[in-house]
C-alpha cells in the first residue's frame, strides 16, 4: 500500500460517547478513485478487519498489483464481478471518536442516476470526486447537480490523485475555481473543496505535508466537524401519524396513542395542534416512549403522542400547528427522477407514497425533461425514460399534506409505485407552487 496513515485519536472505547451520525453519499466512478477513497477511510479509521484485509491482499497479489488495492474492499457481489458491473448502492460504516459515519456508495456511470438519487435522498453530505489530471468532467457536474436536486445540505469536491500532478497548487486552484463558478449556478448551500490522494492517504485524515499550501481542513476533519443538526427543519411541526396504538389491555383499557416519527419541527407537551385532514384542533397531552415521557420531540425521534381530546385520527393523518400547517393539495408540481424501464407518460396512473399516506395519482402534465448534464429543459419531451429527470404536475385521488421539498425534505419527498408490478418507479420532490413560472434551476452550458 502507498504510505499507510495512522488514525490519530484511537477508537471510541470506554463509556458510550455522545457521538452523532453523519450520512454521506459518494459519487464517482472507479477511475476517479472512489473505491480507493472509501477503502482508505475504512482502513484509516480501522473499520477494516484483518480477515477482510487479508482477502484483499490475496486478491491484489492475484491481480499482480504491487500495492494493496484498497478498492477491492468495496468490491461487491459475485453477480457484479462476473458481469463487470456495479449493481447498486452499497452501505458502509465507520466511526471515529466524534462521529459514526454511514456511507452510501453509489456507482457513478450515467445509467445509474437512480442510484445516486437513492443514496443522496438520506445524505447530509455528498462527496463528488474528480481526478486531478482530468479536472471537471460531465459526470462531476451531473453528480453535483443531483446532490443539489436532492437538497443534500453539504457538498465536498474532493480533487483526487494529487500525487499524479506533483501535488500542484495551480492544478488544484484551477479545478477549484472552475467548480466554484459552476456551483454558483446551482443552489448549493455549503461547498468545501479538498485536495487528496486516496491511494497514498494525503489529505484524508490529516493535512498532507506534500500540500503545505492547502490551508483548509483534511477530508476527515471536515466530515467529523461539519454542522448537520442545523440542516433539519425545526420550525414547521409535522408529525405524520404512522400507527395508532390501542392496547385495549387491563392496564391500559382506554389508551390511544399516535405513533410516528417527527418529520420536522419541535413538538412539546401542552402545544396546541391541528390534525389534517379533519382540521380538528386539540392539545398535546403527552409525548411518550417506553423509557418515559419526552418534553420535546424533534426529528428524527420516534415517539407516541397523546392528545387531550378524543379526535378521530388514523394512519396517514398529519399533526401540525394551527398556525403552521401545509395546505392539503391534490394538484402537485414536482421534479421526478424516473427509475423504471417502461417510461413515464402523460395520463399514466400510479400509486404515491408520501409520508405515511398512500394515494393514487395521475400524471396530468409532463412539462419538460431536464438534461442533468446541461440543465437544458426539453419541453418537447413526451415521456421520461429510465434515469431521466423532469418536471410534472400530478393529480392525486386524495389530498396530500406536502411542503416544498426545498423547505422540508421529509414532507416534500415522495415515491411513485407501479400498481401492477409493485415496483418503485420514481422519486419525486414537491416544488413550491410559486415556482410555477420561474423554474428552479438555471440552464448552463458546459
Amino acid at each position: 500500500m502507498g504510505v499507510p496513515t495512522v488514525f490519530p485519536a484511537g477508537l471510541p472505547t470506554g463509556p458510550v460517547q455522545r457521538t452523532d451520525m453523519l450520512r454521506f453519499a459518494t459519487a464517482g466512478s472507479v477511475d476517479d478513485g472512489k473505491s480507493t477513497l472509501i477503502g482508505r477511510l475504512l482502513y484509516d479509521s480501522k473499520a477494516i478487519f484483518s480477515d477482510q484485509l487479508e482477502a484483499v491482499e490475496k486478491a491484489s497479489a492475484a491481480k499482480g498489483d504491487d500495492y494493496v488495492n484498497l478498492a477491492l474492499l468495496t468490491d461487491g457481489l459475485r453477480a457484479e464481478r462476473e458481469q463487470g458491473i456495479t449493481i447498486d448502492v452499497a452501505y458502509r460504516y465507520f466511526a471515529t471518536p466524534r462521529r459514526k459515519f454511514v456511507i452510501a456508495d453509489t456507482p457513478g456511470h450515467i445509467q445509474y442516476t437512480r442510484n445516486m438519487v437513492t443514496g443522496a435522498s438520506t445524505a447530509d453530505l455528498a462527496i463528488v470526486l474528480v481526478d486531478a489530471r482530468k479536472g471537471l468532467v460531465e459526470q462531476s457536474r451531473r453528480h453535483a447537480f443531483i446532490a443539489t436536486l436532492l437538497r443534500v445540505p453539504h457538498l465536498v469536491l474532493a480533487v483526487n490523485k494529487m500525487d499524479l500532478v506533483g501535488y500542484s497548487q495551480d492544478v488544484f486552484d484551477a479545478i477549484s475555481d472552475e467548480f466554484t463558478r459552476f456551483a454558483a449556478k446551482l443552489d448549493i448551500t455549503d461547498l468545501t473543496v479538498v485536495p487528496i490522494s486516496a491511494l497514498h492517504g494525503d489529505g484524508i485524515v490529516s493535512r498532507s505535508p506534500n500540500m503545505p499550501w492547502h490551508e483548509g481542513p483534511s477530508l476527515l476533519h471536515h466530515l467529523e466537524r461539519v454542522h448537520v443538526s442545523s440542516d433539519r427543519n425545526l420550525i414547521d411541526v409535522r408529525f405524520p401519524v404512522q400507527y395508532v396504538i390501542r392496547p385495549q389491555s387491563v392496564d391500559h383499557p382506554d389508551y390511544r396513542g399516535y405513533a410516528g416519527t417527527v418529520a420536522s419541527g419541535i413538538l412539546r407537551a401542552g402545544d396546541p395542534v391541528m390534525v389534517l385532514p379533519s382540521g380538528r384542533t386539540s392539545r398535546v397531552a403527552a409525548i411518550e416512549t417506553i423509557d418515559g415521557p419526552v418534553v420535546e420531540a424533534f426529528p428524527p425521534m420516534a415517539v407516541t403522542v397523546r392528545l387531550t381530546d378524543d379526535v378521530d385520527i388514523s394512519r396517514g393523518d398529519m399533526i401540525c400547528r394551527p398556525g403552521n400547517a401545509p395546505e392539503p393539495r391534490q394538484d402537485l408540481d414536482a421534479m421526478v427522477c424516473w427509475m423504471a424501464d417502461k417510461p413515464l407518460q402523460r395520463g399514466q396512473k400510479l400509486a404515491i407514497k408520501h409520508t405515511t399516506r398512500t394515494a393514487r395519482v395521475m400524471i396530468k402534465e409532463l412539462h419538460y425533461r431536464l438534461d442533468v448534464n446541461t440543465l437544458h429543459r426539453d419541453e418537447s419531451a413526451v415521456e421520461l425514460g429510465l434515469n431521466d429527470v423532469g418536471r410534472v404536475t400530478l393529480r392525486t385521488t386524495q389530498p396530500l399534506f406536502a411542503d416544498p421539498y426545498r423547505r422540508n425534505r421529509a414532507t416534500g419527498g415522495f415515491i411513485l409505485i407501479d400498481e401492477s408490478t409493485n415496483a418503485t418507479v420514481a422519486a419525486g420532490m414537491v416544488l413550491d407552487p410559486s415556482h410555477r413560472v420561474q423554474p428552479p434551476f438555471t440552464e448552463y452550458a458546459i
Binding site: 452499497a90 404512522q242 420516534a302
Partner: protein
C-alpha cells in the same frame, strides 16, 4: 448562493441533536411500525443471538404500551446451546408474544430436507424457514441482519423483496428513498425486513449496555472444553465432536455470534462483562463472521448464494 434562509439555522449548533444510538433506535422503531401498519402478517425471526434480542427489544419499544402485534419464529436446528433456549422461552413469556418453532429435526424426519453427511444444518435451515413462512402465511419476516456483516448484506435493502420462492434478486431491488418503504407484494411474495441494517457490532453492544439488556451467558467469557478446527475454536459438545488429531482443551472463551451449535465457533476472551466486551469489540481486528462462522467460510460469496436461495 441561495435566497432561502435555512430553516433550522436559528438554533445554536449542538441542540436538538440525537446521539448515534438514539438515531439508530428511532430508525428501527420507524421500520417496525411501518411494517405493522402496511403488511398483513409479519413475524419476527428470533435466533437467540444478540441481534435478534436487540431487535425484540426495539419491537417492544415500537408498540408500547401495547404488546408486540406479531409472533416470533425460531428456526430450531436442534443443535442448540441450552442457555439460548432457556433465554428464548423466558423472554417470550415476559413479552406475552406467541412463539412459533420451526424444527429442522422434524423436517428431516418428514423428509422435507435431508441431513447432509457432514452433520451441519445451516443450508437445510432455508427450506425449513421458507416452509414455516408459507404455513404461517407470513407476508413479512423481520431479520436481525446488519449491513456491516457481509458484502452481500451491504447491498441489501431494509425492505428486501422476495419472490414466491423466497429468493433475493440483487439485480432487481426496489430503490429505497428517504424513509419511504415500499412493502407492496402480490400473493405468495414476501418482504424480509432488516430493522438493524445500519447498526454495527459495536452499536449493538453499546445498546446492550445502555439498555441493560440481558444476553445468554455464552456471550461472556467462560471456561469451556474446546478443540481447534480450521483455525477456529469449537466447543466439544454432542453436535460437534473432535475428529482424529483434534485435541480437546479447556480455554477461556466467549461467543461473538450464536448460531447452530455445530457451526459457531468461540473466540479466546477474558471479557466477562458488557464493558469488557465493548472494549474488546472496539479493538478487534477480525469480523465476527470471519472469526466465528464456519458457514461463511465456504466461499467468498457464501452469504450471497444462501440469500439467493431464501436465507434471511
Amino acid at each position: 448562493m441561495t435566497a432561502t434562509p435555512r430553516t433550522g439555522s436559528l438554533l445554536p449548533e449542538g441542540e436538538y441533536r440525537l446521539s448515534q444510538l438514539d438515531t439508530l433506535e428511532a430508525e428501527s422503531i420507524h421500520v417496525f411500525r411501518e411494517v405493522a401498519a402496511e403488511l398483513e402478517r409479519p413475524v419476527l425471526l428470533f435466533s437467540g443471538g444478540k441481534d435478534s434480542i436487540v431487535m425484540l427489544r426495539l419491537a417492544q419499544k415500537a408498540f408500547w404500551p401495547a404488546r408486540i402485534p406479531f409472533p416470533v419464529l425460531h428456526v430450531d436446528t436442534g443443535h442448540n446451546f441450552p442457555e439460548v433456549l432457556a433465554y428464548r422461552d423466558r423472554r417470550v413469556a415476559e413479552l406475552g408474544v406467541q412463539l412459533v418453532v420451526a424444527s429442522v429435526p422434524e423436517a428431516i424426519e418428514s423428509g422435507l430436507v435431508t441431513q447432509p453427511p457432514d452433520g451441519t444444518r445451516n443450508r437445510i435451515q432455508t427450506p425449513v424457514l421458507l416452509d414455516a413462512l408459507e404455513k404461517g402465511r407470513f407476508t413479512a419476516a423481520f431479520g436481525g441482519a446488519r449491513r456491516d456483516e457481509d458484502k452481500a448484506r451491504a447491498k441489501e435493502r431494509v425492505f428486501s423483496f422476495r419472490d414466491d420462492f423466497g429468493q433475493w434478486d440483487p439485480k432487481n431491488q426496489r430503490p429505497e428513498l428517504w424513509s419511504l418503504y415500499n412493502g407492496r407484494i402480490h400473493a405468495g411474495e414476501s418482504i424480509r425486513v432488516f430493522p438493524l441494517s445500519n447498526w454495527t457490532e459495536l452499536d449493538i453492544w453499546q445498546y446492550v449496555r445502555r439498555e441493560g439488556i440481558e444476553l445468554p451467558a455464552i456471550y461472556y467469557a467462560h471456561d469451556r472444553a474446546v478443540f481447534e478446527r480450521d483455525g477456529m475454536l469449537y466447543a466439544d459438545n454432542e453436535f460437534c465432536r473432535p475428529r482424529a488429531g483434534e485435541k480437546v482443551f479447556t480455554a477461556r472463551v466467549r461467543y461473538r455470534t450464536v448460531g447452530d451449535a455445530s457451526l459457531t465457533a468461540a473466540v479466546l476472551s477474558d471479557a466477562d462483562t458488557v464493558e469488557a466486551v465493548i472494549d474488546e469489540v472496539s479493538v478487534t481486528r477480525v469480523t465476527e463472521r470471519g472469526a466465528t462462522r464456519g458457514d461463511d467460510r465456504f466461499s467468498e460469496a457464501a452469504m450471497e448464494d444462501r440469500k439467493r436461495e431464501g436465507y434471511f
